[in-house]
């Protein structure tokens, strides 16, 4: 059996810890001067790919390719993936401000799959900016590959993949043959930090840049965002002086009695 090739998807998103503000036109969230980082679920996917290589051995996992679709700055996210341990990067570059919907991303991925011929595709279960949770499923559909979503544990023996999924009732274990698409859930692993020596090495790793046009994919938006608004601000509580006052407020102001 030849070695496994793993393709990992990484997306540049507004940092998980950054405070999100709706822009003044109410068309989306403010992204200028806001800290961006790798989507946390993608970070878990990258970590899992590296762990697979550490577990199975370098000869079994021959290459880990990180793929991102996004504006020029997405290269930073790719560098993080390379610093964590991916071998090479592929960047499908689009103009700043161009929104890529899950279907467009899935199509771009499927074209890269034709070129790179991976045996396993690891993605985050969803991106924390649009929370779509669709790309992995759509990609599996386009490729006609099996999919294992919400993975909290993953194992590969020969070309058999076993995935434990967190479902409502508990844990579900499924097995499938490779190639397959796996999306990572929060508890799959805890991603490593990028070490300085690896960050330095990552600078020398190759990043291939392509455009949707090169891949012959139409990324025109199919969905229209009507309006984005912030949730209503929570009002502060009050201290009431007596039980009577409390009942009065519950009855006449809150209207719950």
């Amino acid at each position: 059996m030849s070695g496994l090739r793993i393709l990992v998807g990484v997306k540049r998103v507004v940092d998980f810890a950054a405070k999100v503000r709706v822009n003044s036109q109410q068309t989306g969230v403010e992204t200028a001067n806001v800290k961006h980082s790798m989507n946390p679920f993608d970070e878990i996917a990258v970590e899992e790919a590296i762990r697979l290589r550490e577990k199975l051995g370098k000869d079994k996992v021959t290459e880990i390719i990180a793929l991102t679709c996004g504006p020029k700055k997405s290269q930073e996210t790719l560098r993080t993936a390379l610093a964590m341990g991916a071998d090479k990067g592929v960047h499908v570059e689009v103009a700043d401000g161009q929104i890529l919907e899950p279907l467009a991303v899935a199509k771009l991925f499927s074209k890269i799959v034709e070129k790179e011929k991976p045996d396993l595709i690891l993605l985050g279960k969803q991106a924390i900016d649009d929370d779509s949770n669709q790309t992995g499923q759509m990609l599996a559909g386009l490729l006609s590959w099996p999919q294992a979503t919400f993975a909290s544990k993953l194992d590969i023996q020969d070309k058999l993949l076993t995935v434990v999924r967190e479902v409502d009732g508990g844990l579900e274990t499924i097995a499938t043959k490779l190639p397959a698409v796996v999306t990572a859930d929060l508890r799959l692993n805890e991603p490593r930090y990028a070490s300085l020596p690896n960050i330095m090495k990552a600078k020398k790793k190759k990043i291939e840049t392509l455009t949707p046009k090169d891949l012959n994919v139409d990324v025109t938006q199919r969905l229209e965002t009507l309006k984005v608004t912030e949730p209503p601000k929570r009002k502060g509580g009050i201290v009431v002086g007596s039980v009577d006052e409390l009942i009065d407020k519950l009855r006449n102001e809150a209207g719950v009695l």
């Binding site: 950054a18 980082s37 930090y193």
Partner: protein, 568 residues
């Protein structure tokens, strides 16, 4: 540690006839024989001491309540009720409070470390400067002792009563009075919580000029009163610079409105400076005017592993030069601290292997690309020149906060591990860490400590033997500030006697300060002379007496007791 109401306070001081001092932390006033045993056991291993202390005799006396202070009665509470709302007063049941109030009082009487406990019968929570003024005027007239209290996060027993002093808690004075968008000058009540102020400032694109581990609870008034330092000191300097004005209530009720918002002012004595770091001994700070710097929008954090303290210094020299104006923190801690903080918080180390020392570097700037490039070059060069052995750079905000929690979480993690003896010292950077291995050796010689974990893993507070579990160091390299922490299975005089006054003498011999940023409080009041000459201490006493002739403000603390009042 708790004390029954009738016990004497947990503090031992030197008698006036001896020149040295003993414990600040034993569980009760030690008997003469216990003291004698401790001296005897010390005698044998102090021979190697470079200090004269080995020849000194030890004699402990407990502080006693100053009988000139009036004991609080129900009439006093009734008087407070004439101008304070009922919920602003918490009293014990014997003077008219409820059982719930008495329970709540307990929290105000006990310090954060559980090391100091007073038995005040009343907490007053004024809502305005006028109310503070009325409280102090009455207490001064009646000679009732007062202890001002902020967030109660102090480490030296400065904010809790020693006996039955009235606690004036500023927590209900928490309004922001003014903020100037152009100058960034913030004016607020002293009871505002530091983190809340920082959030407020952040909303306007500014940040507080100080930051410390206790930010979620500590008050700005307490920060000012203790001249707090913290992790942004290296960038924004001392509160003596960033505080522009204060509103203070003097013991006689006079309100001193010195709440200026002028960065420059050269008219006369700068009175507010006296109250910065006065620990509530001259009056109560009720309002603060402070300049906030623009909030940096690009922050990077890296954790580095190095092989020796020497390498920590080398890295510091290089980092300060290379990163210059974007460097906003340079912190270090030893391997034992790292083990405990990771274990306690269930965190993963950013570095694969263990290192004798860890460094945290933070840069804050206005342009990300600029900062990133500078930092990357600096770190690469540190690695190439083998000054550091390994390092990790935070890739997102989550990693930034995790890395910070490895440094900021140390005090809490050590506290959970066991009762902690804390020393906060300023000394020249070159010898900063030397005290840690030296103290470990002294404790080992005294038979109280062994580096082998087996000897202390199972030690509980009920263990018949006192067992020291760890001697650790961490701190702010940029400010020459080390936190020496000794963790044991319980607070015990035997440990204190090995540590003190040796630590203070060692610091004095290096012309250091026995309190870099924690203040003096109850713990270090008797040791002030290790850092300040007699002339200076005498003038401090004169200043104290000028502002507070009755000595009601935070008594028994701050100044050496033998010099504070002839009436004692």
């Amino acid at each position: 540690m708790t004390l029954p109401n009738t016990a004497k306070p947990a503090i031992l001081l030197t008698s006036q006839t001896t020149t040295t001092t003993a414990s600040a932390a034993s569980a009760s006033a030690a008997s003469a024989s216990a003291a004698a045993v401790a001296v005897a056991s010390l005698g044998s291993n102090l021979n190697s001491s470079p200090f004269k202390s080995s020849a000194r005799s030890y004699a402990d006396i407990a502080i006693e309540r100053n009988p000139q202070f009036k004991k609080i009665t129900k009439q006093d509470i009734d008087h407070f009720k004439t101008f304070l709302e009922p919920q602003s007063i918490l009293a014990t049941t014997d003077i008219g409070g409820t059982i719930d109030e008495a329970k709540e009082l307990d929290g105000y009487n006990t310090d954060w470390l559980g090391k100091y406990k007073g038995r005040s019968q009343v907490v007053l929570r004024p809502k305005s400067t006028q109310q503070v003024s009325k409280i102090l005027k009455y207490c001064n007239d009646q000679k009732i002792a007062v202890v001002p209290q902020g967030g109660n996060t102090g480490l030296v027993g400065g904010g809790v009563p020693v006996f039955d002093e009235v606690i004036v808690s500023l927590g209900s004075m928490n309004n922001i009075r003014d903020f100037n968008e152009t100058s960034g000058i913030l004016v607020c009540d002293s009871g505002c919580i530091l983190e809340e102020l920082d959030k407020f400032a952040a909303g306007h694109g500014f940040s507080m000029p100080l930051d410390l581990g206790a930010k979620g609870s500590c008050h700005i008034g307490g920060n000012v009163s203790t001249n707090a330092g913290g992790i942004r000191f290296i960038r924004y300097g001392s509160l003596h610079g960033s505080v522009l004005g204060l509103e203070v209530v003097l013991p006689d009720g006079t309100i001193v409105d010195n709440l200026g918002t002028l960065p420059k002012d050269s008219t006369g004595y700068d009175l507010k400076q006296l109250f910065i770091g006065a620990e509530g001994t001259l009056g109560i700070v009720t309002g603060v005017s402070i300049v906030t710097p623009p909030r940096p929008n690009s922050v990077n954090v890296a954790v580095l592993g190095v092989s020796s303290y020497d390498a920590v210094q080398k890295a510091f020299r290089k980092v300060r030069r290379d990163l210059a104006e974007v460097l906003s923190a340079f912190e270090f801690w030893d391997t034992r601290c790292m083990q405990i903080v990771l274990d306690h918080n269930n965190l993963r180390s950013p570095l694969e292997e263990e290192h004798p020392f860890y460094i945290l570097i933070e840069t804050s700037g206005s342009k990300k690309d600029h900062d990133d490039e500078k930092l990357a070059e600096c770190l690469e060069s540190l690695l190439e020149n083998e000054i550091i052995d390994d390092g990790a750079l935070a890739q997102d905000e989550t990693q930034v906060s995790k890395m910070w929690s490895m440094r900021e979480g140390i005090p809490e993690s050590l506290g959970k591990w066991g009762p902690t003896y804390k020393y906060d010292i300023s000394i020249p950077i070159g010898v900063l860490y030397d005290i840690v291995p030296e103290m470990a050796n002294r404790l080992e010689q005294a038979g109280l400590y062994s580096k082998d974990p087996k000897t202390y893993e199972s030690a509980s507070k009920d263990d018949p033997n006192v067992v020291v579990k760890g001697v650790l160091g961490y701190g702010h390299i940029g400010d020459g500030n080390l936190h020496l922490n000794v963790v044991a299975n319980r607070f015990d005089k035997k440990v204190t006697d090995v540590l003190e006054p040796y630590v203070y003498e060692w610091v004095a011999s290096h012309k250091g300060s026995i309190s870099a940023e924690h203040g003096l409080g109850l713990m270090k009041a008797p040791h002030l002379h290790y850092s300040k000459s007699k002339v200076i201490v005498d003038w401090m006493v004169r200043i104290k007496n000028a502002f507070d002739p009755n000595g009601i403000m935070n008594p028994y603390k701050f100044l050496p007791r033998t010099t504070t009042s002839s009436s004692n």
